[in-house]
């Protein structure tokens, strides 16, 4: 048990920011993001305790987080893809807002990103924001590397279009 704890602790420290960002960019609320991320790591820890073979913890965490976000929107009957205009205002308590209030352009990108379809959002977050290798994104999306490259390219183009429109 102490070894598993130690191993999980390292994984938590390494990926908690990435998973938080991933969830926050989708739910746009600090409180909801915290809840979903907590649940993500709790499920991961339970899998660790059950000695499940987790070869790629990051992919595993992203997968759980993705499912939780989908479940959250399904439950709340909310639509993931919202237009930039109707995007909810960022949580007033979240640190980013304070930091980015002066940078309207960054806020605009964030809103445009959340207005993209889920597949494009993921591709942009994973490739450009977190710097995941194409092979890993392909694995996460269940696509070939070639198809993934095309998807990343299209996703960036879609975001560029959204930003121009906004």
């Amino acid at each position: 048990m102490p070894n598993i704890k130690k191993k999980f602790s390292k994984i938590y420290d390494k990926y908690v920011e990435q998973i938080y960002r991933f969830v926050f960019l989708k739910v746009n609320s600090q409180e909801i993001a915290q809840d979903l991320v907590s649940e993500t790591f709790l499920r991961c820890w339970e899998a660790f305790k059950d000695k499940k073979d987790i070869k790629n913890p990051r992919a595993f965490l992203y997968q759980i987080a993705r499912n939780l976000v989908i479940d959250y929107y399904r439950e709340k009957s909310k639509v993931v893809m919202v237009s930039a205009d109707s995007a909810p205002l960022p949580d007033p308590r979240e640190g980013l807002e304070e930091k980015t209030n002066k940078n309207l352009e960054l806020e605009r990108i964030k809103n445009c990103l959340s207005a993209l379809k889920e597949e494009y959002q993921n591709a942009i977050i994973w490739y450009y924001l977190e710097g995941l290798p194409v092979s890993e994104i392909a694995h996460l999306l269940g696509k070939t590397e070639g198809a993934t490259r095309v998807l990343i390219s299209r996703a960036l183009q879609a975001l560029k279009d959204k930003v121009s429109e906004a």
Binding site: M1, K5, Y20, V37, S38, W45, L96, L129
Partner: protein, 234 residues
């Protein structure tokens, strides 16, 4: 905005970070609470047989303690006897006559209590217990080589006094054959012991009288005399 500028802006979203306090607390909540629960479970699991054992020991100890005040015929009385016999295991051979006399005295005390409480149903059992104790004490006295110890003499004397007192109260003779045998053995042993001792003139006279009583079959009287001598001679 060029593609390059857009990618640079996307990278700036890395500023989004969870609160440090929340990060620490969440980790503690996930990892910290779990082992505690597990340890508690394990502790409980390990403790269960120990607790059950301790509880059993406590119940047995309690029953044995309560049984010490029980009287013949009571449910817990056998426990009292078991407890006595258990204690006797650690007694040396030379001490056995003293212990057996002590038991006779205890049985006599119980008999007295039964009589005083007017518990007629228990009377027969109490009498039988006393007789058995007397018979057992007599057996030990026969085997014993050295019975002229001060404590043995004192206990024997105490026993005779108690017995006489109860016999008067109840109007019955305690022991019958067992008592006669016990008195005879004890008197005989003490007479032999006194014969090998240096006695004063007066003491020799009492011993002679005791011997005559013994020859005449008055073992009780003979015993009373030698007990007095043995006690004073110590």
């Amino acid at each position: 905005m060029t593609e390059k500028e857009l990618i640079a802006k996307i990278k700036q979203l890395r500023q989004i970070k969870p609160e440090k306090e929340w990060v620490v607390l969440t980790k503690e909540k996930i990892l910290g609470s779990e082992p505690k629960i597990r340890w508690l479970g394990l502790f409980d699991y390990q403790l269960r047989p120990i607790l059950a054992g301790a509880l059993m020991a406590l119940i047995i100890f309690g029953l044995f303690s309560v049984s010490q005040n029980s009287l013949p015929g009571d449910i817990l009385y056998p426990l009292k006897k078991i407890s006595e016999k258990g204690q006797a295991i650690f007694v040396s051979k030379s001490e056995e006559p003293k212990v057996k006399l002590e038991w006779v005295n205890k049985r006599l005390a119980e008999l007295k209590e039964v009589a005083l409480k007017n518990q007629t149903k228990k009377l027969a059992t109490a009498l039988r217990e006393t007789e058995n104790a007397l018979a057992e004490a007599a057996k030990d006295l026969v085997k014993s080589e050295n019975i002229a110890q001060k404590e043995v003499v004192e206990k024997a004397k105490e026993m005779i006094v108690k017995k006489e007192e109860i016999e008067k109260t109840l109007g019955v003779e305690i022991g019958g054959e067992e008592n006669e045998n016990f008195t005879k053995v004890l008197a005989e042993k003490l007479i032999k012991d006194l014969e090998n001792r240096n006695l004063a003139k007066e003491q020799k006279e009492i011993l002679e009288k005791a011997k005559k009583d013994f020859e005449n079959g008055d073992y009780q009287e003979a015993l009373l005399k030698v007990l007095e001598l043995s006690y004073n001679n110590e």
